[in-house]
């Protein structure tokens, strides 16, 4: 039998350190649902999702009971919807409503994939699709949206970046407290098998139906580091790696069983340290445990680089297929350590931007003043996309210009989305740069053939 101390360690991870399976996400290809009319297409989309996804919630709940590890979210990701609506310019909402209805019918928390891939250029229909996003987000509850505006191979589509800045602003303006913008992500190098929201979509290279699992556990990592208060940095990295291995193994087990029971292809485990606003479930606090007075001070980027890399190394050993974003997330409103640091002024947008160069995503769940100019939002997105493009990694921006609020005030989203202090943005303009349009060419190391 396994050692007593190991059994107690596992039980404590769940009971005291908030270890959980953050999401079981079923990816469903909707290419077969394209019909002659938008109405028929929407019906086919609804029917297929309800058919394929009807057991997700039950299977996730059963596994949660059997393994004694909570499965927090059940989700669906679908083929980027811009492919489905290409023939139906101006009527995209119909498909969006069908996606949202299907999500409610099968009981999943979110459905991702109201997405477009325009990293090199945009078709007329994709432009129409992107312009539909704000209204779609205001008229749906569970649908999430994303647009890939750049890649290391293609460069950055600055026309799309300009447009996406407008989408973010409009989505925030027409929803309560800007919530619409919290369901939208701009990506560079978006991955096709990400199970986490708001950026999940079922990539075009994927099969009919696949299950991906996202594990989390910032609390477990923090606890492990707490037990070695005077260790060297080498030992810190080793401990994170071992802890990541253990939690990914459980994700691997759940993935095996979930895909079998749902009759779907076995996808990937995404090992991401995804924080929640609960105390003891914070990535910011892991960095502070490493020896920072408060996250955001000098040294933060180095600590995060160490953490992100060690998490990946431990995870890769533990599972035959690791994918998604795998690493550390730094969503400000969802992490109590980050919230506190943003409040005290330790954590600024500039520092966050630096942090995104070494972690798995980007400027995530950051609230900014409602009167921020659209061109500033686009410029902020462009900066983040440039980091992703040049470093050959995924970067994302999920930023909320909260209507009628400014620095010093708060926005409360509730639940997993948490609360955020409004952070100041740079007050000098990039209007001229953004208005130019065109494309930032791919970096030289993007030409690898």
């Amino acid at each position: 039998m396994i050692k007593t101390s190991e059994i107690i360690e596992t039980i404590n991870m769940v009971e005291k350190e908030h270890f959980d399976i953050r999401t079981i996400t079923m990816g469903i290809s909707l290419f077969g649902c394209i019909r002659d009319t938008v109405k028929d297409t929407a019906t086919a989309v609804y029917d297929l999702i309800c058919k394929r996804g009807q057991n997700i919630v039950k299977v996730a709940n059963d596994l949660s009971v059997e393994y004694g590890v909570p499965v927090v979210n059940k989700r669906v990701s679908v083929t980027p919807a811009s492919f489905l609506t290409a023939k139906f310019m101006g009527e995209e909402l119909e498909v969006a409503l069908a996606l949202d209805r299907a999500a409610k019918e099968i009981g999943v928390d979110f459905i991702g994939g109201y997405s477009a891939l325009v990293h090199k250029s945009m078709t007329e229909s994709e432009k129409s699709f992107i312009l539909s996003i704000p209204e779609v987000l205001s008229k749906t509850d569970r649908l999430c949206s994303s647009v890939n505006v750049g890649s290391t191979r293609a460069g950055i589509n600055m026309d799309a970046v300009k447009l996406v800045g407008e989408v973010v602003k409009r989505a925030a303006d027409i929803t309560k407290d800007g919530l619409g913008a919290a369901k939208f992500v701009a990506f560079c190098n978006a991955v096709e098998d990400n199970p986490f929201m708001a950026g999940a979509f079922h990539g075009v290279g994927e099969g009919d139906c696949v299950v991906n699992v996202g594990v989390s556990g910032p609390g477990v990592v923090q606890h492990a580091l707490k037990s070695i208060p005077n260790a060297s940095i080498t030992e810190l990295a080793e401990t994170v790696k071992k802890t990541a291995f253990k939690i990914t193994r459980v994700g691997n087990l759940v993935l095996d069983e979930a895909s079998k029971r749902l009759g779907a292809e076995r996808g990937i485990v995404d090992l991401s340290l995804a924080p929640t606003p609960v105390i003891g479930d914070s990535v910011g606090h892991i960095l502070e445990e490493m020896g920072l007075e408060e996250v955001g001070c000098h040294g933060t980027t180095a600590c995060l680089a160490l953490l992100n890399d060690a998490v990946k190394k431990g995870g890769v050993m533990a599972c035959s297929n690791v994918g998604g974003l795998s690493g550390a997330f730094i969503p400000v409103s969802e992490d109590i350590g980050m919230i506190n640091a943003a409040e005290s002024g330790s954590l600024t947008l500039s520092k966050l931007e630096a942090m995104t160069a070494v972690c798995s995503v980007g400027i995530d769940m950051v609230a900014i003043p409602g009167d921020t100019p659209v061109s500033t939002i686009s410029a902020l997105i462009a900066d983040e996309m440039a980091i992703g493009m040049v470093n050959n990694k995924t970067t994302a921006v999920r930023i909320i210009p909260v209507p009628n609020k400014t620095v010093g005030e708060y926005v409360e989203f509730g639940g997993l989305l948490g609360r955020a202090p409004i952070m100041p943005v740079h007050n000098k303009s990039a209007e001229k740069f953004i208005s130019r349009g065109g494309r930032i060419p791919a970096p030289i190391h993007g030409n690898k053939n």
Partner: protein, 89 residues
């Protein structure tokens, strides 16, 4: 299905008896058992087989939880595979 049952709490007479009784009356077989005092806390670990129990795992857990509350210990029941996955390479 094999599960690991853990009982953790303040030591007092009758803990093993009451847990074993509940398991026996629900046709759960105990395949291995170890008990120790870790940092002055009573810690018992059982490997049990619930395949022939009329109760579902969820029902069994609920009963064990209620018993734990009654006698002042914390009782967990988890699939053995979780521990194997985490601690065996």
């Amino acid at each position: 299905m094999k599960c690991i049952l853990t009982v953790i709490g303040k030591d007092k007479p009758g803990i093993i008896a009451s847990v074993s009784n509940l398991l026996a009356s629900n046709n759960v077989n105990i395949e291995d058992i170890s008990q120790t005092i870790m940092q002055s806390t009573f810690t018992m670990i059982m490997l049990v087989n619930i395949a022939n129990s009329p109760l579902s795992m969820k029902e069994l857990r609920e009963q064990l939880k209620a018993l734990g509350e009654e006698i002042g210990v914390s009782i967990h029941l988890q699939h053995e595979e979780v521990f194997d996955a985490m601690h065996k390479v």
